[in-house]
Amino acid sequence: MPFRIGNPKKRVTVFLVLAVVVFLIFVVVGLRLGPPAAVSPVKYFFVDLTGYFQKGLSGPSRWGGKLWRSYLALQDVELENKVLRQEVIQLQKEIGRYREALIANARFKRLLGIKEDVGATVITANVVGVDLAPWLATITVDQGRKDGIKPGMVVMSGAGVVGQTMETSLHFSKILLLSDYNSAVATLIQRNRARGIIKGAGEGRCYLAYVEKVVDVEVGDRIITSGTDQIFPKGLLIGKVSSVTEGSIPDLFQEITVTPAVDLKRVEEVVVLVTNQPFVESHH
């Protein structure tokens, strides 16, 4: 007996539900294949349009925050000046030592025939938006393709690495923060050169994975990029080790928590290192 639905309204409903089911099947397949290239221009136009609104909305709160911080800063300015003067003296001594090291380094490089690193142009950008899902650590900044930004470029703040660019429209870019669950960066422990991978743990936190139990790791150890992932150049500061535990007996690796050098939940301005390195596929 053929499948028949008498009521025209019911028929429309059934067909629509069937259409939605088919759509959802395509969605599930799409989850595996990724978004088609044809929709990219539409998506990027939407990202640009939304970015301007986000910029407008985030502006007043950013100015308010700056004003408040300026007021707080004034209150401690005398004490801070005293500390800073002492710090300047210390730093001048250090600069002297570094200059010597730099000259020696250049001399050794010439001797060994090692090429100088290609210098990167930097672009400053303001954070205008955050991800809709609170457990995903991505932000939107107000610089995009027209400024030379491409996916897979390094993003830093004053203190250290923030993350990498993952999508760019004409005027805005999305950045994957170090603390995102999908983020992974090849790193070194600066003191003993032990290798590991910095992974995101959400909530502005990171952990250092794949460091064997035999490796000596101490709280306060500085973690820097190793340069082996072809995205982050070697030597950029990621953060410091905040806790080390052995983990359970069958585990091969230590459990190492790392506090990022940058407060990833409060970052407001970033610097993108624009390099001419070969395009590197982002995590998508």
Partner: protein, 171 residues
């Protein structure tokens, strides 16, 4: 107000909510949870609008949400469509007139939305307790969100808002 206008109102409200919730500096995100107006918006729409046309609006809202997130493609559409379909199914069997019933229903359906989003994005371990806290919060805030949506709807649906285009008038 006809179905098309209603759909436009929902898309407009959804876009405004998305902008506010993702604009930097707004206190809409508190750790792993957020003050989410989108799940209540889908529920509010589901309470009022029946299945044939309504589902396309909800799909549109889901696709719109995806543009504001690094979430894998299709997850928001999947989650919101599921919520809408469940609301229509439940309303065809029971009446959810009282505010507390609506709060409970939205809480219950929020679990579905949060579960789809968390599991789909590989963060299933956050389902307990954060997913449930989020669902509870969505339910508790239903009277507030529904009040806002009703107000905005009544303002937008005034006939003079539509440049003199009048509803089908009675003779």
């Amino acid at each position: 107000m006809n179905a098309y206008k209603k759909a436009l109102v929902v898309i407009f409200l959804g876009y405004v909510l998305l902008l506010i919730e993702t604009a930097r500096g707004f206190p809409f995100q508190l750790g792993q949870i957020r003050l989410d107006g989108l799940v209540p918006l889908v529920a509010w729409y589901g309470f009022q609008h029946s299945l044939p046309g309504g589902i396309l609006t909800v799909l549109g809202l889901g696709i719109l949400s995806e543009q504001m997130s690094a979430m894998p493609a299709g997850l928001y559409a999947l989650a919101y469509t599921g919520e809408y379909l469940m609301i229509r199914y439940i309303l065809s069997h029971i009446v959810c007139a009282a505010a507390w019933q609506q709060m409970m229903l939205v809480s219950f359906l929020s679990i579905e939305v949060v579960a789809v989003l968390l599991i789909g994005s590989g963060a299933a371990e956050l389902l307990w307790p954060w997913g449930f806290v989020q669902a509870f919060l969505n339910g508790v805030l239903v009277p507030f969100w529904f009040f806002i949506f009703d107000k905005v709807n009544s303002v937008i649906s005034r006939e003079d808002m539509w440049c003199g285009v009048k509803e089908h008038s009675e003779v």
